[in-house]
């Protein structure tokens, strides 16, 4: 079993939803980034998604886009992030996933990326602008290095398209809760229940819910059979951290 799947199954065995915080690489600044990851790790994060900044983040809302822009102007880049993760390999209990747009990965080179990511202890990649049709080459390269390529599906993803992603899928599947970009919202769309049920029926890996999450009460509106195995939160956490508040405090509301 892929280690990301195991992390989420372990949380389920403890009768809790797995927690997957997303933090843009280098955020909120150079001195606070690693302490933030350590604090998330010590306070219940099962998997940590590290965002690789990109100049043109078409699937992101204003908070993640702004974080991305700030980190780019601070000189954050993929090579440096991989080196930093490698240096601290084994210090975090949580699974590590890199989330970013295709072009920086493409310019790094797929083979180099897979090699360096594996060496750094990265367990998975999420690439929002890499749909199934374009993913074959990278998927094969990553598979040799036991790195999962986590798919994103949404309300308009048919059973047929979900099945394409499900074949050979490892780690987890990321269900996008809104027909829009990343960013915290108060109410989950009513379609979420239906999409979570459909994803459960098609995927054998755990189901994570993200885009628009900021507090656990949002989940109470979902029926029992449509509860996600894991929740991802990005924008709400970035905003919280940017206000100078602690990662521990943010995670506390999910315990």
């Amino acid at each position: 079993m892929n280690i990301l799947e195991k992390k989420i199954r372990d949380a389920a065995a403890e009768r809790r939803v797995a927690l997957i915080p997303f933090v843009t690489a280098g955020f909120p600044d150079e001195s606070r980034f690693w302490p933030t990851l350590v604090e998330l790790d010590e306070n219940g994060a099962d998997i940590i998604e590290i965002g690789i900044p990109f100049s043109d983040p078409v699937a992101d809302g204003p908070v993640v886009e702004e974080a991305s822009r700030r980190m780019l102007s601070d000189g954050v880049n993929l090579r440096q992030i991989l080196a930093e993760i490698a240096q601290r390999k084994g210090l975090l209990k949580a699974g590590i996933v890199l989330m970013g747009y295709l072009n920086p990965f493409l310019q790094y080179g797929y083979e180099n990326l897979a090699k360096d990511a594996q060496a750094a202890g990265v367990h998975g990649l999420i690439i929002p602008d890499l749909p199934y049709e374009e993913s074959g080459v990278l998927r094969a390269v990553l598979k040799k290095r036991a790195i999962a390529l986590i798919p994103l599906v949404g309300h308009n993803t048919s059973q047929e398209r979900m099945a394409l992603y499900a074949a050979g899928n490892e780690g987890y599947v990321y269900v996008v809760s809104v027909m829009g970009t990343t960013g915290a919202r108060e109410n989950l769309a009513s379609q979420v229940t239906d999409t979570l049920r459909r994803a459960r029926a098609v995927f054998t890996v755990p189901v994570a819910l993200g885009f628009g999450l900021n507090n656990p009460t949002q989940l109470t509106y979902l029926p029992r059979d449509a509860q996600p195995d894991a929740v991802v939160f990005g924008s709400a956490l970035l905003t919280h951290l940017d206000e100078g508040k602690s990662a521990a405090e943010f995670l506390a509301r999910w315990h």
Binding site: L102, P131, Y132, R161, Y165, M179, G180
Partner: protein, 395 residues
């Protein structure tokens, strides 16, 4: 998806949430577009609303100065002032048959925005336009035209505040409005099927040009020249000539100011392959894969990427791509005004400059056709300012 690549270029690199609407457009392109009833409706509108066919105009004064025969394909005479309406009419008709009630578009110079707004009004559809805030400032006349035509215009303040960022914003908007809205993409770039769809609608330029040239000169042209931003006017005029090995094809990219290390809009000449806006193509980017800002005096060429079919024609060698600086485009603009009484868009002026500045590229007696993709009325503010600056320098 089928045939989404031109050699190694093209593809469909978008979030999964945009795959269903793109597959829907692809299906409409394959199933609706070729039908006689669609083609009849489109041809009626192209003739009676847009003003096709456009003339192929001989330039006697410039021909005698250059020593070869210079012809202009007059897309500037189309309704709304540029070739853009060939594509917006086609996509809007397609969108209506797909049951969509609204059109979404990005625009750089504003020509595609105006072309979309006019067609939306004509066909009774809603219209939403995203335009970089810098472009809103430098092409304000077109913003007014779009609004008067009933479009909702959203200035985009993100990133470089130009076309690239308008496309990002439009893609985001489309994710949440795909049920009712068709994204009327403005150039032969972006994710599949847009490079093919836009070329299908723009290739009317080349088909007409080829027939007109045969009729007027008794033969094919020796060269066809067009400016390349995203590349829709160029692919539109090139396509009918791809199999004619004797016809040389020249695309012209914008070199910006031409100062060493300046920003430019010439990814075919100065970029490397990468993925942006759904397509694997030539891009201006740094070593980390971050997209570099582009720059050009003409907003319509100011884009760090290019349509994937041009990337392929460049690599395969079937077409050649040159570069022209801002100042040379402005000089060509003035020369056409004074010599032939035609006021070209600054975009098209790049193609003209490529021909006028290096007449020895062509043999005496050659027939050279420049695609005059748009008219320059929208550029009066920029041209006036440039003339004033020049006047000061010379005084």
């Amino acid at each position: 998806m089928k045939n989404s690549y031109f050699g190694e270029f093209g593809g469909c690199f978008v979030p999964e949430l945009l795959m269903p609407p793109l597959l829907e457009v692809e299906a409409a392109m394959n199933d609706i577009l070729p039908t006689p009833s669609f083609q009849n409706d489109l041809n009626d509108l192209l003739r009676d609303y847009a003003g096709r066919p456009t003339p192929l105009t001989y330039c006697p004064a410039l021909s005698s100065e250059c020593g070869f025969h210079l012809w202009l394909k007059r897309e500037d005479l189309l309704h709304t002032g540029a070739h853009k309406i060939n594509n917006t009419l086609g996509q809007a008709l397609l969108a209506r048959r797909m049951g969509k009630t609204a059109l979404l578009a990005e625009t750089g110079a504003g020509q595609h925005g105006v072309g979309t707004a006019a067609v939306a009004a004509r066909l009774g559809m809603q219209c939403v336009i995203f335009m970089g805030a810098e472009d809103v400032e430098r092409q304000s006349a077109n913003v007014t035209r779009m609004k008067i035509l009933g479009a909702e215009v959203h200035p985009v303040e993100n990133g470089t505040r130009t076309l690239k960022d308008a496309i990002n914003a439009a893609l985001r908007y489309w994710i949440s409005h795909q049920r009712t809205t068709h994204y009327c993409f403005g150039t032969a770039a972006g994710p599949h099927p847009f490079p093919t769809l836009v070329r299908l609608f723009q290739s009317v330029i080349g088909k007409e040009t080829r027939a007109q040239c045969l009729e007027k000169t008794g033969g094919l042209p020796d060269a066809v020249v067009a400016c390349v931003g995203g590349g829709s006017n160029a692919i539109g005029i090139f396509h009918a000539f791809l199999e004619d090995a004797s016809v040389r094809l020249f695309g012209v990219e914008a070199a910006g100011t031409g100062e060493p290390g300046c920003f430019n809009s010439a990814p075919l000449n100065l970029g490397v392959p990468g993925v942006l806006h759904g397509s694997h193509t030539m891009l201006l980017q740094n070593n980390d894969g971050q997209i570099e800002p582009s720059q050009s005096v003409s907003a319509g060429l100011d884009y760090p990427g290019v349509g994937p079919e041009h990337a392929w024609l460049h690599k395969s060698g079937r077409a050649h791509y040159g570069m022209v600086k801002d100042a040379n485009a402005l000089a060509a603009f003035r020369r056409l005004c004074r010599s032939e009484g035609i006021l070209p868009a600054l975009e098209s002026s790049h193609a003209l400059a490529f021909v006028l500045d290096h007449p020895n590229r062509f043999a005496p007696g050659n027939a050279v056709i420049v695609n005059l993709s748009g008219r320059g009325d929208k550029d009066m503010d920029i041209v006036t300012q440039a003339l004033e600056e020049e006047g000061h320098e010379h005084s």
